[in-house]
Symmetry: C2
Subunit: 389 residues, 2 copies
């Protein structure tokens, strides 16, 4: 085992990852960080296309920094899946695997001879997880999934930003990450279940369904009221929450106000402008109240407001950017970074798995594999035909 931490819960679980880009590999990474052995099955030519996906033009050993970040703790085995001979080797790996994850477009695995029904012939206890863009059924069923485009199709872009702003994307690949997280949940639930039933299990999750699930508050409210939620005119932070919920500019920065009873806020701010409003109006007069607060709060410093708010035990904070967070004492205490040693001369820093188990951090600092780096070892270990791949 290459992992630093020995007591990982998924030790002994073998995962074959037929995935590229972000959703599938992020699921593989979580499983690896929790102790599973994850083998990426890659095309011998280019491999996972994320290897060449530039993020801020940062590269490590000719692969993108993003690839390195989310493919830590994995092995790489290359196979031309269109070759019948090489497929034999893959089938032998499937016999030994606990889990397959793939995010090929609908239909591709079947053509290769590796869909659920074909794979379970090799391994009747396999957990087989499929990630798609739009759920495989209906007119969008065969569309490839991409995070920004699925965000655009899901309504999510009308949740952030203010009312008169353009549709505002979540500034990170939220669909990929949530979908990857749900694939992990489903795989592990299936492993719990399989121990009882001893049969193969197929899991399906899609980026679109993940983003709809994420918006359950919005959809449920929309179904109930028949009205589309509206972002607030100013300082929107959650289209469904009343005033003052939002980020407010102060004389020298920004503060966040979460659920704070209006009466408490009135006592702190002490302005006649707020006299006519009470708690019963935080939804109906949300934008009016927030607009007044914008004018009042900008007159004093963040420190001025935060001291008064915290003295009353109210939900408020000043903001931190990434640098300020990194320089905070709590960040240091939490041990949030790990060093990935690529070679004697080269390393990079990244975050760690957010889960602690029995007080231990699930470190996982083995660097991402070069394309096909583990072919020879895997062939020997699993008794594959050494001529192929």
């Amino acid at each position: 085992m290459k992992n630093k931490t020995n007591n990982k819960p998924l030790k002994g679980i073998l995962v074959l990852e037929f995935c590229q880009y972000l959703a599938g590999p992020s699921a593989g990474l979580r499983l690896a960080d929790l102790g599973a052995r994850v083998i990426k099955i890659e095309n011998p030519g280019k491999g996972d296309l994320c290897r060449i996906l530039p993020i801020k033009d940062q590269w490590v050993k000719n692969n993108s920094l993003l690839f390195h970040t989310i493919n830590r703790n994995k092995e790489s085995y290359t196979a031309n899946l269109k070759s019948v001979e090489e497929l034999d080797n893959i089938r032998k790996l499937i016999e030994e695997a606990d889990v397959i994850i793939h995010n090929f477009r609908p239909g591709v695995m079947k053509k290769l001879g590796l869909d659920f029904d074909q794979a379970k012939e090799c391994n009747p206890e396999l957990v087989y997880a499929e990630i798609s863009g739009y759920g495989k059924v209906g007119p969008w069923g065969k569309k490839p999934g991409q995070d920004l485009l699925v965000q655009a199709m899901s309504g999510l872009m009308y949740a952030s930003g203010d009312r008169d702003d353009a549709p505002t994307p979540f500034g990170l690949a939220i669909g990929d990450i949530l979908c990857g997280a749900q694939v992990v949940q489903a795989i592990l639930a299936a492993l719990v279940y399989k121990n009882r039933k001893k049969k193969a299990i197929k899991i399906e999750v899609s980026l679109l369904e993940s983003l709809i699930d994420f918006q359950f508050e919005i959809f449920t409210t929309y179904f109930a009221s028949g009205k589309l939620p509206k972002r607030s005119l100013v300082n929107n932070a959650h289209a469904l929450l009343g005033a003052p919920y939002g980020i407010y500019k102060t004389k020298d920065g920004y503060i966040a106000l979460a659920m704070i009873p209006l009466q408490d806020l009135k006592e702190i701010i002490q302005s006649d402008l707020l006299n006519e409003y009470d708690q019963s109006m935080v939804f109906s007069k949300r934008d009016e109240i927030k607009s007044i607060l914008v004018d009042l709060i900008k007159e004093n410093s963040s420190k001025f407001w935060i001291e008064k708010l915290l003295a009353k035990g109210l939900w408020a904070t000043s903001l931190k950017n990434w640098k300020e967070l990194k320089n905070s004492q709590s960040y240091e205490f939490l041990k949030l970074e790990q060093e990935i040693q690529i070679s004697i001369n080269q390393s990079f820093k990244t975050n760690r798995c957010p889960i602690r188990i029995n007080g231990e951090i699930m470190w996982g600092s083995v660097p991402a594999p070069d394309l096909g780096a583990d072919n020879e070892v895997i062939k020997k270990e699993f008794n594959l035909n050494p001529e192929h791949s």
Copy 2:
């Protein structure tokens, strides 16, 4: 079992949920939707405070619609945890449980006699999951967690919106949801593990660590370059991706452009203004290129652009709001809604679990319990002292 679908993977798993608001209950809901039996342990007075948390002022039977939405498929057992006698009943439940989840502030469970070490005395194979705001160590260790405030502390608000915009929150409770998802992952990993080791396992996850994990691309890039990522001046959609990634206004709406090679875009748009730019400049001249695209794209309709882009197989789409999505044919095919029947006369619609297992949707339409609704049944079933609670 109250669930519609019989073949759920977590059937037989008993979870005690000492949680309120969103992160913990969302974890409980996922476990319930996957087949676990989830009992909310609530204070006899008010119960989970989410019962009275208004979301868009929508209420169902005196409880907030949000509470109903994320506490489907659960039971409610009320106990005054400060009473020694009632604690005996709780300890008996713990003896039978597989999992405890709690999101009390650090120290509270210990005071109650229910921290990990105390709980595992009752049940040496328990999986015990703790959710905190900031990870329990360091100067923020005892701060209570709230989604907007943790977003504000995590740097995340500098990821969405354009460069000159105020810090822009993700317009949904992203910290709660991701943290809840990771708790589920860890719990299930522990159940997989426990089957091998037969010992109690403690899990810790915090909102802050979840949001830092979510931003791994940003942090890793920041560590590598020493520079804070900057949102683009216009149409920001991901601070680390080059032009044209973003949402563009057209004559009659908006379109999303994901990773599209600049050359392809130049062939479609055909403007001299783009002549001097090539693929090597999509990072260094990101904002210049995007600003030019803004001016060019607004001259024609969404349909005009999307037809040309899709004809070339490029990553683009027009946008849908929630209503347009709901009215789409794919939405219907995916069967995304379920009806929760509260009483003979009352029901509401909500989303379903996004995971399919063996082709089956994990329906879970049992309504959220009234406070203490299951006390009598649970007392009998688990042979508790009927005088207490």
